[in-house]
């Protein structure tokens, strides 16, 4: 919770805030009877916390991918079968992808795939109109 008594409050100037988002946020803050300072602080706190949570997810995905690469010689014995990798472990082998998918729903993060070829890194092109979220927010 935001501690209004002990938190040090600071005045900042933020450039490049989306006008429509700002107007809607100001209106929502007014409706809820909170200051824009409090609303922005809460939004920034959520953004930081989500980022930390995402770091954890990304780390787990990387560890699972590393597991697949390190254990590929074992995994390829299941060629044509569906596997679920989570927590750096082979959690299950299934005859169909659908079955594996139902099983993997119990994990927050899992690789679920039919064993075929050694996984590679692939690149996807994005068109010139696409802006990254960080650019919009900066």
């Amino acid at each position: 919770m935001f501690n209004m008594i002990t938190a040090v409050k600071r005045q900042v100037l933020i450039r490049g805030v989306d006008e429509d988002v700002y107007r809607r946020a100001k209106s929502a803050a007014a409706l809820q009877g909170v200051s824009m300072g409090l609303a922005v602080s809460e939004a920034l706190r959520g953004w930081v916390e989500n980022g930390l949570a995402e770091d954890g997810i990304r780390k787990e995905v990387k560890q699972n991918v590393r597991y697949v690469k390190a254990h590929w010689s074992d995994l390829k014995r299941h060629k044509g079968e569906a596997v679920v990798i989570s927590g750096r472990k082979l959690q299950g082998v299934f005859t169909s992808y659908e079955e594996a998918r139902r099983f993997s729903a119990r994990f927050n993060v899992a690789l679920t795939f039919v064993v075929d070829k050694m996984p590679e890194t692939r690149e996807l092109e994005f068109g010139p109109d696409l802006e990254l979220q960080q650019e919009i927010q900066s």
Partner: protein, 112 residues
């Protein structure tokens, strides 16, 4: 824009022929649909027009478009808060663009 259904959720996606992947959805939607538990083992990187590379979460999922159901790759990244339908998804269909109406329609290739 085209309307697709992913894991029971209807999404309006911008048709982006400049994007070579399947579908892009916001990470919050990707997470809420449980797709973090259906990731593919391949690592996908989005190469931005300025050559920066952004790692993507990627899952293989069935998508319903009209009366057609196709399996496609669904991508997400916290830096990409967009809903896009790219070429890997569109290649299953014949896409007709209606400029004046700013609309796109899809029909399955096999139906022709």
């Amino acid at each position: 824009m085209i309307s697709v259904e992913l894991a029971g959720m209807t999404l309006e996606c911008v048709v982006d022929t400049g994007f070579s992947g399947g579908l892009v959805i916001p990470l919050s939607t990707f997470e809420s649909l449980g797709l973090l538990a259906a990731l593919v083992p391949e690592e996908y990187l989005a190469v931005m027009p300025d050559s920066r590379k952004v790692p993507l979460y990627t899952a293989s999922e069935e998508v319903v478009a009209g009366s057609s159901r196709v399996r496609t790759l669904v991508h997400a990244a916290s830096a990409l808060d967009r809903k896009l339908a790219g070429r890997a998804f569109l290649q299953s269909f014949v896409t007709t663009l209606d400029g004046p109406r700013e609309a796109a329609s899809l029909s399955l290739q096999s139906a022709l």
